[in-house]
Every structure is written in structure tokens, then in C-alpha cells.
Point group: C2
Chain length 310, copies 2
């Protein structure tokens, strides 16, 4: 006679699926999903509130790159101490961080589903974009300008610099850039009907712009002197090293996009009120690789791709 | 001068979010998401194709319990050897299993996003249900019948029995019940406008029916002699032990629902052609707990809840 067998539980949570969301038929659906693993995608010491914020932010950044507005979010969490006091504390702090960002965009959500397992979080977001208006990766054409929002390389600096050697304000600002990146939702929406291609800079500008070039069948020139660098980055790294970070370090979650030059004035109109700003950094070319050049025309070799931090 | 810092990558995949899905404004959206962790939610030896099938099946089962039809699915996968040959083989088999079930329901999807980490999979599904027709958990009323689709306890038997002691056909059938459960999508759709409450049996009938009772503020009588048992379960376990499994073991992914008795004939009409069948197992009561009774009226004590198999 078998004793009561141990069962395989799908999840320990009794949370309902997110249900019965109304939808406007003039809007298309966009879904983004991402898993962040403790020790792989975030350092072991990361505060759970920062994990929650960032897990939502990276998915919202995917929506931003498509010009979509967020409509809903759901999270799944596995924790080695799920159901115990330690797991509940972690969950509460995670929910606070995620909820802070969700609230900012008015995103309805249900509590995270939880299960016991190695610490990792998966967040899924649902976005809407007017039919036919989603930004794509394959529309860049020779002669288009290449632009980015905000500044590049800050998250990379936060990972590489000894914060004890910095003033407190710079250190805190850098850590926020890494831990709580601002998804460029408003900028993405403003790019609808203007940008010929767009992507978010999660793996580094060279890698992510490379996806646009591959999808569009084009090359590009990037002028490294034009790369937007924060004052903190400029203060802590001399020119060429700052360019390396701006070109190759990940985690900035700015938007990189291409634009026919005749639309630049309309872009300026639309983005005028956004705090992040934008910068022209280069031009799409008919063929060839991504070429990075100094102001004097000489070639600048960007660092290769980045590894996980472990 | 810092060397190139190691970056924190959000995912290694370059997959795009699922984008630009059209939607009928008469339909509401339902989203379900679930994480399955290696060694917690599936045994270490589980074939990756079965993990893929089941990861989608458990989410489709959530949709079924709401009367929703599946529209889209996305998967996130972390594997210790992501990007290496072993990880790619695992991913390919996982995709085959998930794709088999997705194809059956005509669900469009994009390739799984992958990252390096402890082996776990998260699947998210999007479903549609006509406005106001989603099945709920809180509508059960005293006098309503309690019903379940299919048979209960088979997955529990598969976990507890020594398959070497069974005939090959029974063993194979049991393993399929555990490894590749059939989400009751068609049954859930047929229950729209009829069932007063519904849930899927993932954690065991007592636990899951308990969620309906808690949400509805009711009690219930369940007649253990009426529990639907497969021939295989009946052959391998004598009566009361079979009932224990049927009441308390999880992973069956049948639907449990409640129904005003006057609607029984309409239900029979609608479910006539579904292979899974359905069985009346009890009645909703005004108050009190879930009471399990034998045919002679005596009380039957169900086993307590189940633990993860590790």
C-alpha cells in the first residue's frame, strides 16, 4: 500500500491569474517577459526592492523600444525560503520595489506568485500600441540618423568603480542608474511614426545597435566624440575609457533608434519636454559593419561584448 | 583605469517580445504565468520535452478554469549550460514538447528566451474570454452541485507506484497523465454561463475545492463513493486508498466546478462530445467545512495537504 506520495506542486501560491482585462480593438498587444537569476543577473547582495524595481524596469524597457504603453504586469518568484519568515520579508521588499515603478505608470497587477526554489524572479508585462504603430528593428535605411536617449555607460561605471573613492552624491546617483533604471516609456511612445527602427540598450550599444543593423541589412558609423556621457562618468574616466563603457557596457536601458533626417525637427518637438533628452551619435550606412570613429576620422575599436558579472 | 567591467545581462537571448497581436474588443484578456523549478516542481530525471509540455499545460489549465481560450504563449528558461551544446539540446527538446501542445491549440509563440542559471522554466499564456463571461471562484451557492472532469488521483498514483510492478500499457498511461496532462480548455469554454464557480485541480481536490469554498463563503459535502477513478487507479489501489489519492494528490489538472442543479441538462448537452467526461461528486452547503462522506453517511477523513516531492 503506498503511503501518501509527495506531490509535485505547480506553485505554492493561490493567486489567481490576472483576469478580465478590457481591451480597445484599435490597440495591438505586446508582451515582454524576462527572468533574472540571483548571482547571474543581479549580484547576491542586491536589495530585494531593487530587484523588484529592475525586474519590472527591464521589461518596460522592452515595451518602450516598441513604442508600447504598459497595461499590466505579473511576477513569478522562486525563493529558497518561500513561505518562511525570511522568504516573506524578501517578497515584501521585492513587491515594494516593483510596486513603486508599477504605480508610476498606473499598471494594475496582482501579487507575485511564489514557489520554493533557487532565488530568481520572472516578470511579464503587457503593453498596447495603436495598430500598425509598433516600432521595429528592421526599418533602418542608409542615411538615417542614429540617436540615443539619456547617457550611456553609467551602469557599467557603477559596476566597475570603487564607490568608496567617489563623493556620496555621485556614488548614490550611479547606484540608482544601475539598480533602478528609468524605462523610457514616454520617449518610446513619442517615437511612434517617426523612428525607422528602435531597440533598448540592455547589452551595450554596440551589441544592441548591431541587432538593428542585422535586421535592417545595413551598416553604421558612430562618432564616439558624440556619445552622451554623464558628468559623473566624465569625471571618473578620461575620454577613451569613457567611450569604451558607453559603447560596450550594458544595463543602461536607454533607447537607441534611427530616424530619417527630415524628421529631426518633429522629433525635437515631441521629445522637448522629456527629461532624458536625446543625442545624434551617427549615421546608418548602406553596407559594412558598425564603424566607430573619432572626430579626426580615425577608427576607434570598441571593446568586445560583456560577460555575466560572475 | 578600470578594465572592461563584467556586466549584468538581462537575458542572453536576442528574441523580440511577442508583438503586435490584434485583439477583438468584445473579448477580455486573461494572463496566467507559472514557474517550474528543477527538483522542486519536476523531478531531476524528467525529460525536457515533458517539462516543456507540462509548463504550458499547467498555464493552459489556469485559462481553462476561467473559461478562456488560449491566444499566445511565451517561455523563459534558465539552464546551467545555456549557450553550450548541452543547454541547446535541452532547449530544443523543451521547445518540441511545448510546441506540440501549443500547436494543438493553434497558439502562436516566439522561441523561449534563455539565460544561464539553475534549471527552471517560466511560461506565460494569454487567453481571451467574451466580456463578462470569465468563470470565477466566488459564485458557488448552497444547493449547487459539485462536479469534476475526467478522473482524479492518477498523477498521484504515478508518483507513488513502482511502475516495474505494472503492465506496460498501464504504466505508460499513468506516466502520460503525470507528464503530459491535458488542459481542459474545451470543457472550460463549455462552462461559460453555466458554472457558478470553477478551479483547476493542481494541488489536490480538497485544497482546490477549498479555494472555491473560501471565496464563496460556503461549505460542501463530497461523496467519496462518487469520486471518478480511472480503471488503472482502481486496479492498483483498493477503495479507500484510491479515494485518498483522488481527494488529496495534486497534478491532475482536471476542472472542479459548481453548477445550479437546474442547469445540469444544459451542461450534459454541451459536454456530451468531450472525451474527458464529468461527474457529480457532491453539493455546496451553506456553512461548515468540506465534509467527505461514504455512501453509508459515515465521515471519511481526507489526507492532509501534500508537500513538494523533495
Amino acid at each position: 500500500m503506498p503511503t501518501v506520495p509527495d506531490a509535485i506542486h505547480p506553485t505554492s501560491g493561490v493567486t489567481r491569474p490576472l483576469q478580465a482585462l478590457d481591451w480597445d480593438a484599435g490597440q495591438q498587444l505586446v508582451i515582454a517577459i524576462d527572468t533574472l537569476v540571483h548571482g547571474v543577473h543581479f549580484p547576491a547582495a542586491t536589495a530585494p526592492g531593487d530587484v523588484g524595481f529592475k525586474a519590472l524596469a527591464v521589461n518596460l524597457s522592452d515595451l518602450a523600444a516598441m513604442g508600447a504603453a504598459p497595461r499590466a504586469a505579473q511576477a513569478c518568484l522562486t525563493h529558497p525560503r518561500d513561505g518562511e519568515a525570511e522568504g516573506r520579508r524578501w517578497l515584501a521588499a521585492f513587491e515594494e520595489g516593483l510596486g513603486t515603478l508599477a504605480q508610476r505608470f498606473g499598471i494594475p497587477r496582482v501579487p507575485a506568485q511564489t514557489a520554493r526554489g533557487p532565488l530568481s524572479v520572472t516578470v511579464e508585462v503587457l503593453g498596447s500600441v495603436p495598430r500598425g504603430m509598433a516600432l521595429c528593428r528592421d526599418g533602418a535605411a542608409p542615411g538615417d540618423l542614429i540617436l540615443v536617449t539619456g547617457t550611456l555607460g553609467d551602469a557599467g561605471l557603477a559596476l566597475s568603480v570603487d564607490s568608496a573613492a567617489m563623493d556620496a552624491a555621485s556614488s548614490a546617483w550611479l547606484q540608482m542608474r544601475l539598480a533602478r533604471p528609468e524605462p523610457r516609456i514616454e520617449a518610446g511612445i513619442a517615437l511612434r511614426g517617426l523612428a525607422s527602427a528602435a531597440i533598448d540598450v540592455s547589452d551595450g550599444l554596440v551589441a544592441d545597435l548591431g541587432h538593428i543593423l542585422a535586421a535592417s541589412g545595413t551598416g553604421a558609423h558612430v562618432n564616439v566624440d558624440d556619445l552622451p556621457l554623464s558628468l559623473v562618468l566624465q569625471q571618473h574616466l578620461p575620454g577613451e575609457h569613457a567611450w569604451e563603457l558607453a559603447l560596450s557596457s550594458g544595463d543602461d536601458y536607454e533607447l537607441c533608434f534611427t530616424l530619417p533626417p527630415r524628421r529631426l525637427a518633429r522629433l525635437e518637438d515631441r521629445l522637448r519636454d522629456l527629461a532624458c533628452g536625446f543625442t545624434v551619435i551617427g549615421t546608418i550606412t548602406a553596407s559594412g559593419d558598425l564603424q566607430c570613429r573619432r572626430a579626426d576620422g580615425s577608427h576607434f575599436r570598441a571593446a568586445p561584448g560583456y560577460r555575466h558579472f560572475l
